[in-house]
């Protein structure tokens, strides 16, 4: 997980609050697109706004850029209150999903669009354009028109143009969504590397969780105009703060359960140990247990293992590097199904086939419990 290895630049000193978003609300008529959103972005950090379509990611990004003013709330950028400044007076570069390259200008003219020949001189402007083209690996495209480039190349030019003025903040609105899968992954890596090298504070909007997990230092998970959780990719993946986040990021099993004691719950006939997560809930309260398919234990499950279930293999689907098994557990009240990842080795070693009865365990460290039942989510 990349998020753990890298730290924002200068992280041994206390991270500096570079951009503060304080209680920002945005209304379109009666509709509330952002509801009292607050967050802080540190210097040099790569932050992703992640959420489903319509959750307000773009709205928040445009408020930061000053392209659409927030209805309420404050924005502080580099200790300066920018809440009411028009975009020209803010310090950012922006890249859109549509590239938004000026079609009638060459690549060089596009990149140098915000550079003033009067202030910098022709030679310096040209040198800067060449430097940027080198940075994005498109030295040969200097005199080409955007239509002569592929989608991925056009997006690199858009990136170069956004960086030309050396802005303090880079805003990216779904920059990779219009590209096909292969290009998307390649450009994703390049962007991350570029961002790390330049140390530029970056905010990217995406609805692609994989993109957010692989790129971000911190992810802001949004839902219906509010922030559900802020955290590193690993935190968000391992400890989702709500069932919503658990569902949105990665694959997840949701099992209906009831509270038994401070650290036990029941699912049908089974009693499972959980961490202290249900301490504050009364006995009999309906809860949902979440566990990821890859966290379901299959090997070395003995009678002594905690949280063991007897299941039948209903279906096995080959997904390339592993198998995804659908397991049915009769003792769970109703026919509850659990998906689990089976490694290729496991399938070979145990010669599993459909209809086999096996034992699995749900490790308590890997299970998360949220109050409310599945339907209420």
């Amino acid at each position: 997980m990349t998020g753990m290895i890298k730290k924002p630049q200068g992280s041994d000193v206390q991270p500096m609050a570079y951009l503060e978003i304080n209680n920002v609300t945005k209304r379109f008529g009666d509709f509330v697109a952002l509801d009292d959103v607050s967050l802080t972005v540190n210097e040099g950090e790569f932050v992703c706004f992640l959420g489903p379509s319509g959750c307000g990611k773009t709205t928040l990004l445009r408020a930061i850029a000053g392209l659409d003013f927030q209805s309420e709330g404050r924005l502080v950028h580099n200790k300066k209150d920018i809440s009411h400044l028009p975009p020209v007076q803010r310090d950012f570069g922006i890249v859109f999903q549509s590239y938004a390259l000026f079609p009638n200008l060459t690549v060089a003219q596009n990149i140098s669009y915000g550079l003033s020949v009067r202030e910098m001189g022709r030679d310096k402007v040209e040198a800067r354009v060449r430097e940027l083209l080198e940075t994005v690996g498109l030295q040969d495209s200097y005199n080409k028109y955007p239509t002569a480039l592929s989608g991925g190349q056009q997006q690199r030019i858009a990136l170069a143009r956004a960086l030309a003025n050396k802005p303090g903040l880079l805003l990216l609105d779904e920059p990779l969504s219009a590209l096909d899968a292969k290009v998307r992954i390649k450009l994703r890596h390049e962007m991350k590397e570029l961002q790390r090298n330049l140390g530029i504070t970056t905010i990217m909007v995406t609805h692609d969780q994989e993109e957010a997990l692989s790129l971000a230092d911190r992810i802001v998970v949004m839902n219906h105009g509010i922030i559900e959780q802020i955290g590193s990719p690993l935190e968000i993946y391992r400890n989702p703060a709500s069932a919503y986040v658990a569902d949105f990021i990665g694959d997840m099993n949701f099992l209906d359960a009831e509270v038994l004691t401070d650290n036990q719950i029941t699912i049908g006939n089974y009693t499972l140990d959980v961490d202290q997560q249900v301490k504050h809930l009364p006995k009999g309260e309906k809860v949902t247990v979440c566990i990821r398919p890859e966290d379901v234990m299959v090997r070395n499950v003995t009678a002594d293992t905690a949280n063991v279930l007897d299941v039948e293999v209903l279906d096995v689907e080959f997904l390339g590097s592993f198998y995804r098994a659908i397991l049915s557990c009769h003792g769970m009240g109703g026919d509850m199904e659990i998906s689990a990842n089976f490694s290729i080795n496991l399938m070979r070693d145990h010669a599993l086939s459909l209809g086999d009865h096996i034992k699995i365990a749900l490790p308590k460290k890997r299970s998360r419990v949220f109050s409310g039942d599945k339907q209420a989510r």
Binding site: L39, V76, H84, F102, L105, Y113, G114, N165
Partner: protein
């Protein structure tokens, strides 16, 4: 951690004053431009119409008389007769032109007949001429000394016959365009489906073709009716004693100085135009909904009999158009029709034929050039602000609404409204009355809507994020307009400029109320010379207008080629 801040801010809504003080330099430029544009539109469109509206409730000395003028008008049989005259003549014109244009459009879009390009080019001839021209030609052909007057079998061309034939010529290209659009927007797969289900050609025509085009046909009918009922040039030249609404306005206002009754007739003429405008808007919405992005264009297959019949029909229509324009050209070159048919250029010697000489022609050239340049720029910026900016939503929607109004106002009515508004003693703009400025203003206003829609459509196709990008690059919006939007829209901009130029050359209806002796225009000079019996010079001046229009259109073809050559570098650059 997510809300940690060192400073605490009290959260308060920004007041209006705060907003205002936070306006950037660009916002202020934009605001000033928007206010400028909307004020000009108020002055050029809304206030004059309001002036006419209130004049219809006042007597000639300006006292409020309520519905008095309307009562006076409707109790005078001579005047009310014009209403029924106007209606039946316009209806007849609508039916004839409608049928002819439908078949012609059908031939151009749904057949494999030869020579489609030529037929299409020929069909636009009437647009290049003032509406007076067909009337003059008809007098030469069918008038008292007409070459072929026998075909009328004793009937006089002066009156409804002449008006209807002239109207058919003048209106044809306008509704042909609507019909071509209606017939081109159809899904080929519907036809394939119908064929697979075993429907014959007749059944397909009535179950697929007609229903598919019905909105366009309805809209065309209303446009034809409105053009016919509001045109002034044709009934003025060939109407004889047959009174219609458009000539009544002119007589009441210019002849008898009876402004109140003129205003009443103006209000009446506004009705068909308003109805047709409303129908057109409604129909347009339906039609765009009908055509999905996945529709496939229809490609006709050859069919000998059908193609042959349609070719014969189109040839007849084209011959009619050519005959009319040819007669005007020929008569302007003939010494003394029909007695001495030798050729001469003497009628083009306007300095000898008319006290105004060549001045009206050059006035027209000046007006057209200025209108084309100033009008196009103004309309472009209006369209840009409406389409591409986010601030000042109220003023922008005001501009958008006002831009639609001229479509619903006939030229005669606009001209009359200008008289009431600008000639009012208290009006500070009184000074432009009788100058070229008022002629230019009325012409731009008259042709605003089509130009605005053309440019809005072009701007809509430009990426909506360019404004955001240029703001992030610290480039002011006007720089991006000049370097990006303007060059990309250049084809549409040149189309609009030509449209304004040609229409300024040919229009009569609005300016006939507004010219002064030294700002007389070529089209008005045609009218005046015809009025005093100088028919050959009138035909010659009309031909000067036609030739100028043709020259400008030809120039446009080359300009378009040049633009395409330059833009192709970035439009479809190959990978």
């Amino acid at each position: 951690m997510n809300t940690a801040t060192t400073t605490t801010y009290h959260n308060h809504r920004s007041t209006f004053r705060q907003r205002l003080s936070h306006l950037g330099k660009e916002d202020i430029i934009m605001l000033i431009a928007l206010i400028g544009i909307s004020l000009s539109m108020l002055v050029a469109i809304i206030f004059p119409l309001f002036g006419m509206f209130s004049k219809s409730f006042q007597n000639n000395s300006g006292d409020w008389v309520g519905l008095g003028n309307f009562i006076e008008y409707f109790s005078s049989p001579g005047l009310v007769g014009s209403i029924s005259n106007s209606i039946w003549v316009s209806l007849l014109t609508t039916v004839i032109t409608g049928l002819a244009a439908f078949v012609y459009a059908y031939a151009l879009t749904r057949s494999c007949m030869p020579g489609k390009k030529i037929f299409r080019a020929l069909s636009s001839i009437p647009i290049l001429a003032p509406s007076l021209l067909p009337a003059i030609s008809l007098v030469y052909l069918l008038g008292n000394q007409g070459l072929i007057r026998e075909i009328l079998m004793g009937e006089s061309v002066y009156g409804p016959i002449g008006i209807v034939i002239g109207m058919c010529f003048y209106i044809f290209p306008h509704i042909l365009m609507i019909m071509i659009t209606a017939l081109s927007t159809s899904d080929a797969r519907l036809y394939e489906a119908a064929e697979v289900l075993g429907a014959g050609p007749v059944r397909i025509f009535f179950t697929v073709t007609l229903p598919g085009a019905r909105y366009g046909l309805i809209s065309a009918a209303f446009v034809a009716f409105t053009l016919a009922i509001t045109d002034f040039g044709i009934p003025k030249v060939i109407g004889g004693n047959f009174n219609v609404l458009a000539t009544d306005i002119y007589k009441q206002v210019v002849g008898q100085q009876n402004f109140s009754i003129g205003a009443v007739v103006g209000m009446i003429l506004l009705i068909p135009a308003l109805v047709s405008f409303a129908v057109d808007r409604h129909v347009r919405k339906k039609q765009t909904a009908q055509m999905s992005a996945r529709s496939e264009p229809y490609r006709p297959k050859p069919h000998k009999l059908r193609d042959g019949l349609l070719f014969a029909f189109c040839t007849m229509v084209a011959l009619f158009l050519l005959t009319i324009i040819g007669t005007a050209a020929f008569s302007s070159l003939v010494k003394f029709w029909p007695y001495e048919m030798s050729l001469t250029l003497q009628h083009y010697d306007f300095n000898a034929n008319d006290p105004n000489g060549w001045a009206p022609f050059f006035n027209s050239l000046t007006l057209s050039a200025v209108t084309a340049v100033v009008g196009t720029l103004m309309i472009f910026f209006g369209a840009y602000f409406v389409e591409k900016t986010k601030q000042f939503a109220l003023i922008r929607s005001l501009v958008q609404v006002m831009a639609m109004v001229p479509m619903a106002v006939p030229g005669m009515v606009l001209g009359l409204a200008y008289v009431f508004f600008f000639n009012a003693p208290g009006n500070p703009l009184n000074g432009i009355y009788g100058t070229m400025v008022i002629l230019g203003l009325s012409t731009i206003a008259h042709f605003y809507t089509v130009s605005h829609l053309t440019l809005t459509t072009a701007l809509k196709q430009i990426d909506g994020e360019f404004e955001a990008v240029s703001a992030s690059l610290k480039a002011p919006f006007y720089k991006t307009v000049a370097r990006v939007h303007f060059p990309i829209c250049l084809p549409a901009i040149s189309d609009v400029a030509i449209y304004l130029f040609v229409n300024s050359m040919t229009t009569v209806s609005a300016v006939v109320f507004l010219y002064a002796p030294d700002t007389k225009l070529a089209s008005i000079s045609v009218l005046n010379m015809d009025d005093v019996g100088d028919q050959a010079p009138a035909a010659a001046m009309a031909m000067m207008i036609v030739m100028t229009s043709i020259a400008v259109k030809t120039l446009h073809v080359f300009i378009t080629k040049g633009i395409n050559a330059r833009t192709s570098a970035w439009k479809n650059a190959s990978r």
